[in-house]
Amino acid sequence: MADHDISLVAHLLRRAGFGSDRNELEARAAQGYAAALDELLDPLGQPDIDEDLLFRLHPGLYLPNAIESSVHDWVYRMINNPRQLQEKMSLFWHTIFCAGHSKIDHGLEMDVMIAMFREHGMGNFRDLLYRLSTNPGMLYYLDNTESHKVALNENYGRELLELFSMGVGMDDEMNYTEDDVKACARAFTGWNVAPAYPPFPYGRSRWEFRFDPADHDDGEKTFLGETGRWNGDDILDIICRQPATARFISRHLCNFFVADEPPVPSWRLTPPLHPDLVQSLESAYFESGYDITAMLRALFTSETFKSESVRYCKVKSPAEMVVGALRLAGEHREIKPGLFEISIEPKYMGMDLMNPPTVEGWHTGREWIDSGTLVERINFASDLLGNTELPGVRALVDRLKDLGPVLTPEALVDGCLDLVGPLPVHDETREELLAHARRGGDVSHGGNGQDAEFTRRAGEMFQMIASTAEYQFG
């Protein structure tokens, strides 16, 4: 029955979360796709992580000052938050609403911004845009703090339209004009950050949003054909009514969750990869009154998302690579030392979390891979999956034993591929894995001294699979 198809449910858990270990995958498959999806779409119905415990054991993560602590906290949540889609959405919004530590230079404010994405990223899009437009880190990152009634800085006004809501154009048309950018920026004058305490010697203090009416340009503005004395609030209302906004956000969701689209700057001239799916998300956006969860439901229940052709078609982002391998191996599922070092791994793989290269975010797809990052990806994942001491890997070895007392090389390879994914590989990859397995011949367990050798062979095979080109996809 399709609803209980383990490959399909694994696909859902990889995309709508950061994957799972085998136990959870089997439990979710038994529960069925629809029920598993319902839980993912209802984060508040699921338990949260135990923050009290986290902060008691890692006091540095409570109101973190250093950016490294904020990243550490986030990676812990990616691994352990039972509300997996909520955590994935915080990453999604971070890749769209880009702001970075290189400029903000304030670890706590990055933490505050990501926490806002986590809490509100599955709510109402209008509400989310408002929170974004009053987020001190973002206002500073995009220079709205430098935008005044008498001296306009267009940066936030422009990126709000170009990167955060409408996109420059669609269906070969432009979505807005330079005059609209100016009107938008004028409406957001006075949306500022209250003066902060100097950072030394006691460290950074929280920044606060403050609206300064004296610095707000209250004059008449024409924005997207509508004229009035618009403030930022009004602009957000107008933006959210635009079909372009529905299209842009829908397409971003498809790009992130379904299949890699061409780069964003080409979207004006290039139609979406899956136009019907994008359209159904646009409908969900308007019918629900801009509810992001309604869009996600439309996405994950679509036949396009469920089709085999989109499985393993995306190159895993470094965060997905690191967190996915940890979850599969069952490592750092409790609070213990060593996660700080691991939380830097995505950076080594080219994804410096909370510090995207530019406001346009990371280049994804094949651009995650170069000779340096590939070595990091392969070594990280294969070290974990080859470590048969880890509970998740031990569970895989036990499952493998359930296949029978003696495994032929074919059964070993196919069994391992099934257990880590199920991961389909190209014939030539399977042939090489098989050739390797054949050198050791059949492998047995249960007999005298056989278990250690069985475990070693299984671990070695998991390790080899984690090093394949196919494992780079999720």
Binding site: K103, D105, F200, G365, D370, G372, V375, R439, E460, S467
Partner: protein, 378 residues
């Protein structure tokens, strides 16, 4: 005619964290220096004389040797317009040469592309330390990032040499290219093949290396030793980069002790590095460049110094015309950068242009993003 001239090699050491220029090259006779550094001033007679007005920090004896030999260029007042006081942003600016926009491509990534346009050598550029600094990033330019040369490679945690050799053999065949399975997976396979090739070659470097010299045990010492090993192994690497880790030069507190230790380490490392190359007669084609993302505040804060603007850079090598380039920024309050900082007078892109044109033989303009009058120190 066969040229026997060796290709020039650029080694770069990034002193990340913001090295305190005022306590590195000390304006030892300037009263304003004394007034500004009630806690941290270095006594005039302790500073190692460079000129009548300037002196090295007392821990920099080993570097002063190169000054005395005429092999050290000192760049004073280096920076760029509208200083950023954020480590990350300022380092990005030095890496990408883009002070206004956020750039994604590094100057050395572009240089490597020009040195080896077809990426014929996967080791033309090598970084030591994990994660690629943006200086070396450019799409389509393979750069290996080596955490530790002794253990670098793929599938390094497989126990047993035979097992690992077998696994690497399987890996090599799984990634063998020209199968036509789709552009992305084909690309990943060819990248994997490059990575394996690079790792195979690099793994032979420590075995080939013989030296009577001992580097400091610090991270900087070991990274610079790895650079020497890679250079001496003759892989044809042209750009070798490393960073002093942990933003260690960020001396907000207890600077007197910490900064002295950092300079002692760097000086001993540089001295050993040059001696190592000289011992093997392999120093003539190496230029070592050292920089930091910014200098520090003129006034000390009672224990250390906060982020500043203009800083100091060094270039060292047999081909260098030793001397002072740029001017010591004025400490006069009226001539300071806003916030009590040193004003830059030498754009770092002028220094880069000198390195690119006179050392690597490249056209600097497209690499540094403009026409900057190059500093002629080579």
């Amino acid at each position: 005619m066969v040229s026997t001239k060796k290709d020039p090699v650029l080694a770069v050491l990034s002193l990340s964290g913001g090295n305190d220029g005022l306590n590195t090259v000390i304006p030892r006779t300037n009263g304003l220096y004394w007034d500004s550094r009630p806690t941290l001033a270095i006594a005039e007679e302790q500073a190692l004389p460079i000129t009548d007005e300037l002196g090295f920090h007392p821990e920099m004896g080993p570097i002063k040797k190169f000054w005395d030999e005429g092999k050290l260029a000192i760049f004073l007042g280096v920076g760029y317009p509208n200083a950023s006081y954020s480590h990350f942003r300022s380092m990005d600016i030095w890496h990408t040469c883009e002070p206004d926009a956020q750039g994604t491509e590094g100057w050395l990534g572009r240089a490597i592309k020009d040195l080896d346009p077809q990426s014929e050598n996967v080791l033309t550029g090598v970084n030591f330390g994990r994660g690629l600094p943006r200086a070396l990033a450019k799409d389509g330019v393979p750069v290996a990032s080596v955490g530790d040369l002794e253990t670098y490679g793929l599938l390094t945690k497989i126990a047993g040499q035979d097992q690992r050799a077998q696994a690497l053999d399987v890996f090599g065949r799984m990634y063998s290219p020209a199968i036509g399975r789709g552009p992305v997976i084909d690309y990943i396979r060819s990248t994997g093949t490059d990575a394996l090739k690079g790792a195979d070659i690099l793994s032979t470097a420590p075995g080939k290396y013989k030296s009577s010299l001992e580097y400091p045990k610090s991270a900087v010492g070991q990274y610079m030793r790895n650079i020497a090993q890679t250079h001496l192994a003759g892989f044809g690497s042209r750009v070798l980069f490393t960073t002093s880790p942990y933003n260690s030069f960020d001396t907000h507190a207890n600077e007197a002790v910490n900064h002295a230790g950092l300079l002692r380490d760097v000086s001993a490392t540089v001295d050993t590095f040059m001696a190592d190359l000289r011992e093997q007669q392999q120093s003539d084609n190496v230029l070592l460049f050292m920089f930091t993302e910014f200098g520090r505040r003129i006034m000390d804060n009672g224990s250390g110094t906060d982020h500043g603007a203009a800083g100091i850079a060094f270039a060292l090598g047999e081909g260098v015309q030793g001397g002072i380039y740029g001017e010591y920024p004025s400490l006069e309050p009226a001539e300071q950068e806003e916030g009590g900082n040193l004003k830059f007078n030498l754009d770092f892109r002028c220094v880069y242009s000198g390195i690119l044109e006179d050392w690597l033989g490249l056209d600097p303009e497209p690499i540094v993003g403009g026409n900057f009058e190059r500093v002629k120190f080579l």
